[in-house]
């Protein structure tokens, strides 16, 4: 799986800072765990065009729209909250407990770093 990068957030060139203007589209990378890649029939990181503020929820909305099979696998159908054993990482940080509506780090917005979805190490 493509890594989420454990180092400090990278510098972002000004030209990539395109989330600050409402309505702009950002091309965001997302790395899925193997089981979800299998379901979505993809074998590598995905690039998603996200319109407006780049949040986990916005990214997942696009992901689910483009790959409906993933509905219910990351966010629960009824609550639209993160499933308990799913985690979100980016730029070396665990964003799992941040609000889903919080804007993602600039390195993710700019496409320098992926939003990483992982299955938590649990259950043996």
């Amino acid at each position: 799986m493509s890594g989420g990068g454990r180092g400090p957030e990278r510098a972002v060139p000004p030209s990539a800072r395109n989330s600050e203007t409402p309505g702009e589209t950002s091309t965001v990378r997302i790395a899925l765990p193997e089981h979800l890649r299998t379901l979505a029939q993809v074998d590598r990181e995905l690039e998603l065009d996200v319109h407006g503020p780049v949040t986990v929820m916005a990214v997942l909305d696009v992901l689910e729209r483009e790959h409906p099979v993933l509905r219910g696998t990351i966010l629960q159908h009824d609550t639209r909250r993160r499933r308990p054993f799913v985690r979100f990482f980016a730029v070396g940080r665990d964003l799992s407990h941040a609000p889903l509506e919080a804007e993602l780090p600039e390195a993710v917005v700019s496409g320098l770093e992926p939003l990483v979805v992982i299955g938590a190490i649990a259950g043996g």
Binding site: P33, L39, V69, V86
Partner: protein
């Protein structure tokens, strides 16, 4: 020549075992959906190419897969199981109210006459129906809203609706079983339900051992030619009803233990029944370390051990409730899977057994399709 297709759900994927009508040489395919728990797969009785599978993990939740070509290819269908209305609460293990919440599909039961109609028994206990091949699911909420629903309490494996039995003689009649609530029957296609637990006794478990609901029914089965007769493997006791579930009587007879999970009826003889005795609810393995299927030729009471080809020493596996099935060939074939990963087959009504495979992940379910 006719043949059989055995559908095996395991803790880490599904497997398809096929053979011709002799049932001697087997082809093993899988794992399908590798790494996922496959609680159940079942084929449509009117279209053997149509198979449904319940696929889940604790990480990524529930999916339902469908094959339209006998298991060669699969596609995910709908996986949204939304309870109707405000779900309310049932009892938790400690007796406190607990919100109803969906966790997984335990059992898929395709309709007897329409490949696109399929029922799903889920945890927390509820019954769903799809009439579009699994694309969308609607709850038959009359069951969960049965007056006793708020009193239902989970068994050790969760509060699951694990058994769905369709009555071929009455399209509007259906039986379901819930751990640990008991048996319920509808006679109007799922709109209204009645508890069908009279005669069951749960000594030491329920304050009233003969309560209307609260019994830990493990599985029920019927023969399509005589659907008013039902057989039940309860947590303890093997039971029988001769009146469509209205009343039950015990037929455990000479079984070495009347605890167990599956119960199955011979394809051609409504009086021939199979169970796999398990030592106890705290020791989920066969008595004396001997794996024995017991067969009754008399609808219960009198049972004979079937041991040829089965391990008769040092065997400490379990056989789960959905992990036994029969084919419709003559002689009738019987199949079961174990938590040790073996799938055993008998092509002679249980007289002798061979292991089709020995080292699968723990087997959760076994179903058989008899192919033309």
């Amino acid at each position: 020549m006719s043949g059989v297709r055995v559908l095996v759900g395991t803790r880490k994927g599904a497997f398809i075992l096929t053979a011709d009508g002799k049932r001697e040489r087997w082809k093993v395919e899988g794992p399908l959906f590798a790494g996922w728990e496959i609680y159940h797969l079942k084929g449509s009785p009117v279209d053997t190419n149509r198979i449904y599978a319940s696929q889940s993990t604790g990480w990524f939740g529930q999916l339902v897969q469908r094959s339209d070509d006998g298991g060669a290819t699969w596609a995910p269908v709908g996986n949204e199981f939304a309870y109707e209305g405000v779900p309310g609460t049932h009892q938790w293990y400690d007796g406190t109210p607990h919100p109803w919440a969906f966790s997984r599909v335990w059992h898929l039961e395709p309709s007897l006459d329409d490949p696109d109609t399929v029922y799903a028994g889920v945890e927390d206990a509820a019954l769903f129906r799809s009439s579009d091949g699994g694309a969308t699911w609607q709850e038959l909420a009359g069951l969960r809203q049965h007056g006793s629903g708020a009193q239902w309490q989970p068994g050790a494996g969760g509060m699951c609706l694990h058994t769905i039995v369709l009555d071929p003689s009455r399209p509007e009649r259906m039986f379901i079983a819930i751990s640990a609530a008991g048996v319920f029957r509808t006679d109007d296609g799922g709109a209204t339900w009645h508890a069908m637990n009279r005669g069951l006794r749960s000594d030491g478990v329920l304050p009233d051992p003969e309560a209307d609901v609260g019994h830990c029914v493990h599985r029920i089965a019927l023969h399509p030619a005589r659907p008013e007769v039902l057989y039940m493997q309860k947590h303890w006791d093997v039971m029988r009803s001769d009146d469509g579930g209205a009343s039950w009587f015990e037929v455990s007879g000479n079984l070495p233990s009347d605890f167990g999970f599956p119960i199955e009826v011979h394809a051609h003889d409504p009086e021939t029944v199979y169970v796999v005795p398990i030592k106890s609810d705290s020791e989920h393995y066969p008595p004396e370390g001997k794996l024995r299927v017991y067969r009754s030729r008399s609808g219960g009471h009198e049972w004979e051990p079937l041991t040829r080809g089965l391990p008769q020493e040092n065997c400490y596996v379990n056989v789960l409730r959905d992990a036994m099935a029969v084919d419709r060939l003559d002689p009738c074939g019987v199949y079961f899977g174990t938590t040790g990963g073996q799938v055993y087959a008998s092509a002679d009504e249980g007289d002798g057994w061979t292991a089709i495979v020995r080292d699968l992940p723990a087997v959760l379910s076994v179903e058989v399709q008899t192919l033309p």
